[in-house]
């Protein structure tokens, strides 16, 4: 329904707009374009008034309309008279216009040009890269302070984190690694059976688990479980000003919050790696003895023969590195988090994605380097 507003010239200099009928936000609002056109016309009115004798019920729609008209008049320095509008409308309009807009606060709306978007994206990426380097630098300095005995954190925090990312992660690490061992053995068995080489399933599982899969799968599990938790914890602390409180106490948040988390993961990951390698080998054993008709002795003897300490130490070393990377990704995203609930959620998501990218990239680099040195 269109709300009736009529513009009338009276005495040649005054523009009067007449409001009548019922005004309701549910039924829409008239545009002020007609009034704007009237104000911009030639000759321009010397005064604008309102006539509301036939006004029925009204609500915020009328207040918004009158306020918009009054603002138009102010912008053109034309006197505005609220005429016989109800006192309630007059008071609400005065209240709405009482505090002027602060200069420089309004943001431009609408879509940004492509070049601006590209430029902003590039600046964000560069800033993110600098933040990452800065965080890595601070974390390295913190480790040096630890070695010099000057890093300050609570031992109880370290122990709690060790428990959370160690003992409490055993269940999920066991299930995932057992299933990966089963899958490797099963896929291998299907292929190797065609050559009558089922016995080599033990080699496949042992080498794959000790050299690659135990470290990778444990790191992925911890990235999703612990890295995200680190980011959420630190992000929430950022939002609650808890990190500011540490800073003003003269305590480095990196020493106090990041260092124990990094230490805990770097200590627990090698242990989880051992556990995971065992679980994966057990998965291969179950397929070998249950599906391939290999005896337990045969399978274990073949596993022992294919086990290499080189593979073991490569996998073990990777687990330490991946632990550090998961901790860095989680803590970095948490420390860099914004101060809202949405920002904390984004930090947790970003921590997992960052950790996975770091793990895969570093594993690829290690694969090339180890190949070059013949390991």
């Amino acid at each position: 329904m269109t709300v009736p507003v009529r513009l009338e010239w009276i005495d040649g200099r005054t523009l009067e707009f007449r409001c009548s009928g019922d005004w309701s936000v549910r039924h829409g609002m008239p545009s002020v374009a007609e009034v704007a056109a009237g104000l911009a016309g030639d000759p321009a009115p010397g005064r604008v008034t309102v006539q509301a004798r036939e006004l029925g019920r009204w609500d915020s729609s009328l207040v918004a309309y009158v306020a918009a008209v009054e603002e138009l008049c102010r912008s053109r320095a034309i006197p505005f008279d609220k005429g016989d509008l109800p006192p309630g409308v007059r008071r609400l309009v005065d209240l709405a216009l009482a505090v002027p807009e602060r200069a420089g606060t309004r943001r431009a709306g609408g879509p940004k040009p492509l070049l601006v978007l590209v430029g902003e994206g590039a600046l964000r990426s560069w800033s993110g890269f600098q933040d990452t380097l800065s965080f890595l630098g601070e974390a390295t300095l913190s480790f040096l302070r630890l070695l010099a005995g000057r890093a300050r954190f609570r031992r109880s925090d370290l122990m709690l984190t060790v428990q959370e990312c160690g003992a409490q992660a055993l269940g999920i690490a066991f299930i995932i690694s057992l299933l990966v061992g089963l899958i490797l053995a099963f896929v291998g068995a299907v292929q190797l059976r065609t050559f009558g080489a089922e016995i080599y399933v033990a080699n496949l599982v042992t080498v794959a688990m000790t050299r690659e899969m135990a470290a990778i799968m444990t790191a992925i599990v911890l990235a999703g479980r612990t890295g995200a938790a680190f980011a959420a914890q630190l992000g929430t602390m950022q939002a609650n000003e808890e990190i500011d409180a540490l800073t003003t106490l003269g305590v480095s948040p990196i020493d106090f919050l990041v260092l124990p988390r990094m230490l805990a993961l770097m200590l627990m990951m090698p242990l989880l790696y051992l556990y995971s390698a065992f679980a994966g080998t057990l998965g291969g054993f179950l397929v070998g003895t249950g599906m391939l008709d290999l005896t337990a002795t045969t399978y274990l003897t073949q596993t022992q023969a294919s086990f290499s300490f080189t593979d073991f130490f490569v996998g073990w070393g990777k687990s330490v590195l991946f632990g550090a990377l998961v901790a860095i990704a989680g803590c970095m995203r948490g420390i860099q988090s914004g101060r809202s609930a949405a920002a904390v959620g984004n930090a947790a998501t970003s921590a997992v994605v960052t950790a996975l990218v770091y793990i895969i990239i570093s594993d690829a680099i290690l694969a090339v380097l180890l190949n070059i040195v013949g390991l």
Partner: protein, 273 residues
């Protein structure tokens, strides 16, 4: 370069520099200027209020003073020593940390460390910076919590107490080391009138008996008139300080009508009807 300390004209003896001197401070986020060219001084043992309308940058000013945000221009001097420009090397973080150990800060939200009990929150500064043994720390913690009316809440976690109690516990933590300078960001917000009054009394006691200098961000007019010795008014519109003085003088003699209006409204509200 640090300015030369002022001298007493007659005998030429060096007067001690003010406890805090904010010099030509510009506060900005990117290109958006929050406040520009703000200067004021806080004398030793003074209760100084930073007031102003909502969104004018009061808390941001406090964060510049305690080292959480680097100013776009200007400096803050503590006992004549530059806070932002006085580093011998590096980015000056160690220098600022050394100065900030003299601060006690109550944040707007309380900012208690959520993984620690109230006792652990208050005890942490003591275990880091004093040689007190566990028993002594426990006794000091009990005293600080009792001073803010939280006796018996030592083993509670921040999530188990109300917002007002969290704020009071934050004050107990800020007072843990009897700091030279106490920064309080909206200490009365969220407190009932009696607790608010009690907090004002506590701030006065801390100043009178421990000699602490107190900087408070607030727009609680009852508190301002009850305890402030000096104040600065930050204006959101002109984005600079438009008044500096004792609020009881400013209420009728401030040049800016906005400041008089701000302070008068409180007086009217405080008058029994």
């Amino acid at each position: 370069m640090e300015p030369a300390p002022p001298r007493n004209g007659q005998n030429g003896q060096a007067a001690p520099p003010p406890r805090i001197a904010v010099r030509n401070l510009d506060m900005a986020f990117g290109g958006f200027v929050v406040q520009r060219d703000v200067s004021f001084t806080v004398r030793r043992g003074e209760i100084f209020v930073i007031m102003g309308d909502s969104g004018c940058g009061k808390s941001t000013m406090l964060k510049h003073m305690i080292g959480l945000i680097r100013p776009a221009r200007g400096d803050v001097l503590y006992d004549g020593e530059s806070f932002w420009g006085g580093s011998a090397g590096g980015d000056g973080t160690d220098h600022r940390m050394a100065i900030s150990r003299r601060f006690g800060v109550l944040f707007q939200s309380g900012a208690l460390w959520s993984s620690m009990t109230l006792a652990e929150n208050v005890a942490l500064p003591m275990t880091l910076y004093t040689d007190l043994d566990a028993r002594e720390v426990a006794e000091m913690v009990a005293l600080k919590l009792a001073l803010v009316g939280l006796r018996g809440f030592e083993e509670y976690y921040p999530s188990e107490i109300s917002g007002g109690m969290r704020k009071r516990a934050g004050l107990a933590r800020a007072m843990a080391l009897d700091p030279d300078i106490l920064f309080l960001d909206e200490p009365s917000a969220g407190l009932d009138p009696l607790s608010s009054r009690r907090l004002d009394d506590l701030i006065l006691e801390l100043r009178d008996n421990l000699g602490s200098t107190v900087v408070i961000v607030t727009h609680e007019l009852a508190s301002i008139f009850a305890i402030a010795d000096d104040a600065v008014f930050l204006d959101a519109e002109s984005r600079t300080a438009i008044a500096h003085g004792n609020p009881r003088d400013l209420i009728d003699h401030a040049e800016s009508p906005k400041v008089r209006e701000f302070l008068h409204r409180g007086e009217m509200a405080a008058t029994p009807v």
